[in-house]
């Protein structure tokens, strides 16, 4: 959007003024017999000239606008085509339009443009209460969604599930999850009942939505929903959404040069496919897997044909990097010791950290999140350590390491090299 999509800023061209002037001068050469008529003519001509000048200016402005719009679109087209290595040269962009298609009529717009916006725009007039809603719902919806919107079999549940969103299997219903009431009205009106979409009257839809709100304990049984009070209804989870924050949280971390060798000490199978044969030849249920994780082999870095093992690599570390790490380690010294005779303080002693199972220093009492990582067999790799040092609480939520994180990326690399130089 940075490419100034406000393409329609008027460009008042010098051309416009020039055109107006030329018109005025040539008009005047028409002359007249008497001074009087001459004066009248001059007045008329001036008026004409002014009008023509204004018209010419508008025309020129319009032309300039169209041209700049055309150029902007051509640029977008070319950029898009180049970026995507199109199989065709970019489609040309003409000045003006192709004059294809026809004007949409009012009735046609009314028939198709029925979506409802979160602020209630698009709602037709109408009303319906919980009681009526129950009747309609039981008749038209309950066969799939249950009498109380609780869902039948595999069909969607429309009510309940409050306080489950943080669970492993969150129950996402109109009540527990949907942030806008307009969504329910709009979806039911256009897409339900399944197999008979588009047959509900506005009043029926208002009544059904009122009933679904009631089934979710969001309104009382005497509630009536209408286009007038629609936007007053508060949805339970209206604050439950954030706009995609992967760029800040994830991309920043995952745009790093990945490890190629000795990336882990050992690798074991921790879980095997639940369903072995998903679609058996003869049809029917998927076949479950009865193999267990213990059946698998263990892979270890030393088994590999790679020449250097983790400890050999230590010897190849850059001494200047280690020296820089020693300096950066000052911010850790209040809590950690490292080297010969290092003991546990506020934090554990940090010898032999790389390749070591997380939270495995003897005699140190780790936080729960560290103990979990330990049980899961997670190991400190340069990557995981870098992520942890950059943002301890972000990567290990609940850690006892109350340290804001290392700000400079260069310091992190240096610290890792420094720690790598201390064997267990």
């Amino acid at each position: 959007m940075s490419k100034s999509l406000n393409l329609f800023a008027p460009a008042i061209g010098i051309t416009a003024l020039g055109l107006g002037l030329a018109y005025g001068l040539s008009s005047r050469q028409y002359g007249a017999q008497t001074i009087e008529t001459l004066e009248i003519r001059v007045q008329q001509i001036e008026a004409n000239a002014a009008r023509a000048s204004a018209e010419a200016q508008t025309a020129a402005e319009e032309a300039a606008r169209l041209m700049s719009e055309r150029d902007q679109f051509q640029q977008i087209a070319t950029d898009a085509a180049n970026a995507s290595t199109s199989l065709t040269a970019p489609a040309p962009v003409v000045e003006g339009t192709y004059e294809l298609g026809r004007a949409a009529l009012g009735e046609e717009l009314a028939a198709w443009d029925v979506d409802v916006l979160p602020d209630g725009r698009g709602l037709p007039e109408g009303r319906g209460d919980v009681y009526t809603g129950e009747e309609v719902f039981v008749e038209k919806c309950a066969s799939c969604h249950g009498d109380f919107a609780e869902g039948v079999g595999n069909w969607p549940v429309l009510a309940g599930g409050f306080d489950t969103l943080a669970d492993k299997d969150p129950v996402k219903t109109v009540g527990s999850y949907w942030p806008h009431l307009s969504t329910a009205w709009d979806y039911i009106n256009r897409s339900m009942p399944f197999g008979e979409a588009g047959t509900l009257t506005p009043d029926e839809t208002y009544a059904i939505v009122a009933y679904i709100l009631y089934s979710n304990d969001l309104v009382d049984d005497d509630f009536e929903l209408s286009h007038e009070n629609f936007t007053e209804v508060e949805m339970y989870n209206s604050d439950g959404f954030v706009v995609d924050d992967r760029p800040e949280l994830e991309y920043a971390q995952w745009r790093t040069e990945p490890c190629m060798a000795n990336c882990k000490d050992t690798v074991e199978i921790t879980m095997r496919a639940t369903f072995l044969d998903v679609t058996p030849e003869g049809g029917g249920e998927s076949v479950m897997n009865d193999a267990t994780t213990g059946d698998g082999p263990v892979f270890s870095a030393s088994d590999d044909t790679v020449a250097t093992t983790a400890t050999d690599e230590t010897d190849g570390l850059d001494p200047t990097l280690i020296a820089a790490g020693e300096g950066a380690f000052r911010q850790c010294k209040s809590c950690h010791q490292v080297g010969e005779n290092a003991s546990n303080r506020t934090g554990p002693a940090l010898n032999g950290m790389l390749g070591r199972t997380i939270g495995s220093v003897e005699g140190f009492r780790y936080s729960n999140v560290f103990q979990e990582a330990n049980t899961a067999g997670e190991v400190w790799t340069p990557e995981s350590l870098a992520a942890f040092l950059a943002d301890p609480r972000g990567t290990m939520a609940g850690t006892k390491m109350t340290f804001r994180g290392v700000r400079e990326e260069a310091d992190i690399a240096a610290l890792i090299a420094y720690l790598q130089s201390f064997e267990d």
Binding site: I76, S84, A197, A273, P297
Partner: protein
């Protein structure tokens, strides 16, 4: 490893074993016994074959009849609102033939003829318009190859290794060459002056089927590379992919690629439709959900060997083959590990150049017959490195359904049998 050979497992592998036996026979012939397929006159070398026109529209030869889309019945309530999977394990190259490209419908695939087709452009435009199918073919058109991935692809695997086969874990993807008109051309035809500043505007796109699947797309994307497509891989779209006209939204989740496109409305806010609130939002550990997670991040999977594609030839030359893609642009590198991520080798990429399209990769290697933990890791032009399952879980928890782009592991045992596993 005896656990491995339960009867169900055997049944599943019978076809694989047969292929293996065939290969062995071929090998034996080379060691002295003449091969009757060569020494004896074969029917096909003597009798005539099928005449032209026997099948006016050709189908794959009968020997390939198992290379088909497959549905996992218990995943959804009804095949009308359901999903099936592309047999990516059995395909090569990058283009997905339409006939086996996955389907996802919310209320079934509809038969809509070109004659009955109408496309409305309305909302904040200067001239609300109706286009016929024939009108669309009169605008300048372009050809582009793009992948279309369902946001729920690999969604089953959040909680752990589940389905045994690349088709089931990664088959909600296809890659086609589209012919269509840039959406910006149509928007410009209707005129965007009425929309004023475009930087905070949206288009709401809607399909003609009963689900009336509708999604809001920011104007910046709508004017960038979105296509209104009517051909795929050179021929008309298939019914199940939106014949006669679908939207192509490169790099963004498949749900936005509205099929049977019937309306494009310029709006001043997101509609917050059911498909962008109740569905296609990602709940994280703390119960807060991310919305507008449109881009499909970089991802890859080894398609062979994989559970449905065991190694049947024993030790020796082995081609490890797979697919990589990124909604952010081009794939620049793919690394493959045979030991569960301890050591990585960079794979050979197929044709470079297409952005937001599938890239084929190969690792041409020697298999020594020992077990392998196969993984692939994609890197895209932004430097984003495909994360491990653990990295994703640490970041998002396990409640999410969509956008699982983790590194996949296949365990290949000494027999060449592959299984979906998770590793430490």
């Amino acid at each position: 490893m005896d656990e491995f050979f339960k009867p169900s497992r055997r049944a599943f592998l019978r076809s694989g074993a047969a292929i293996a036996a065939g290969t062995v026979a071929g090998g034996a012939a080379a060691q002295g016994t003449p091969d009757p397929k060569i020494t004896e006159l074969q029917d096909w070398a003597s009798y005539t074959g099928a005449g032209v026109d026997e099948t006016p529209y050709g189908l794959p030869i009968k020997f390939e009849s198992d290379v088909v889309r497959r549905n996992v019945e218990w995943l959804t309530a009804s095949p009308i609102s359901s999903i099936n999977f592309t047999p990516i394990h059995a395909l090569d190259g990058t283009i997905t033939p339409q006939g086996c490209a996955f389907e996802r419908h919310h209320s079934g695939a509809i038969e809509l003829s070109k004659e009955d087709y109408r496309l409305m452009i309305n909302g904040l435009v200067d001239r609300p318009l109706i286009f016929s199918y024939a009108d669309l073919e009169r605008f300048p058109r372009e050809n582009h190859v793009y992948f279309c991935e369902c946001a729920a692809n690999t969604g089953m695997e959040w909680a752990g290794a589940q389905l045994n086969g690349a088709q089931f874990t990664h088959g909600m993807i296809h890659n086609m060459e589209y012919t269509g008109v840039p959406l910006r051309t149509l928007l410009r035809e209707a005129g965007l002056e009425a929309a004023g500043d475009l930087s905070d505007k949206w288009v709401y796109v809607e399909g003609a089927d009963a689900s009336s699947n509708g999604r809001s797309i920011p104007m910046e994307k709508a004017l960038d590379d979105v296509l209104v497509a009517f051909k795929a891989n050179g021929e008309a779209l298939r019914m199940e992919h939106g014949y006669p006209v679908r939207l192509v939204v490169p790099g963004w989740e498949g749900n936005m690629w509205v099929k049977w496109l019937r309306r494009v409305e310029v709006t001043d806010m997101a509609v917050q439709s059911r498909e962008e609130t109740s569905k296609y939002t990602d709940v994280y550990e703390n119960g807060i959900a991310r919305k507008w997670t449109w881009v499909m991040d970089a991802k890859s999977v080894i398609t062979s060997p994989s559970p449905q594609m065991p190694i049947t030839h024993g030790a020796g030359p082995l081609v490890i083959s797979g697919l990589a893609w990124s909604g952010h642009g081009q794939i620049t590198r793919v690394d493959v590990s045979k030991d569960g991520g301890i050591t990585w080798e960079t794979a050979r990429l197929g044709k470079q150049g297409d952005t937001k399209a599938l890239t084929r990769f190969y690792l041409d290697t020697e298999w020594d017959g020992s077990p392998m933990l196969l993984q692939s890791r994609a890197i895209d032009e932004t430097g984003y490195v495909q994360p491990t399952k653990d990295q994703l879980r640490e970041m998002r928890g396990e409640n999410a359904v969509y956008h699982n782009n983790c590194i996949q592991t296949w365990f290949v045992n000494e027999e060449g049998i592959a299984e979906n596993v998770e590793v430490s």
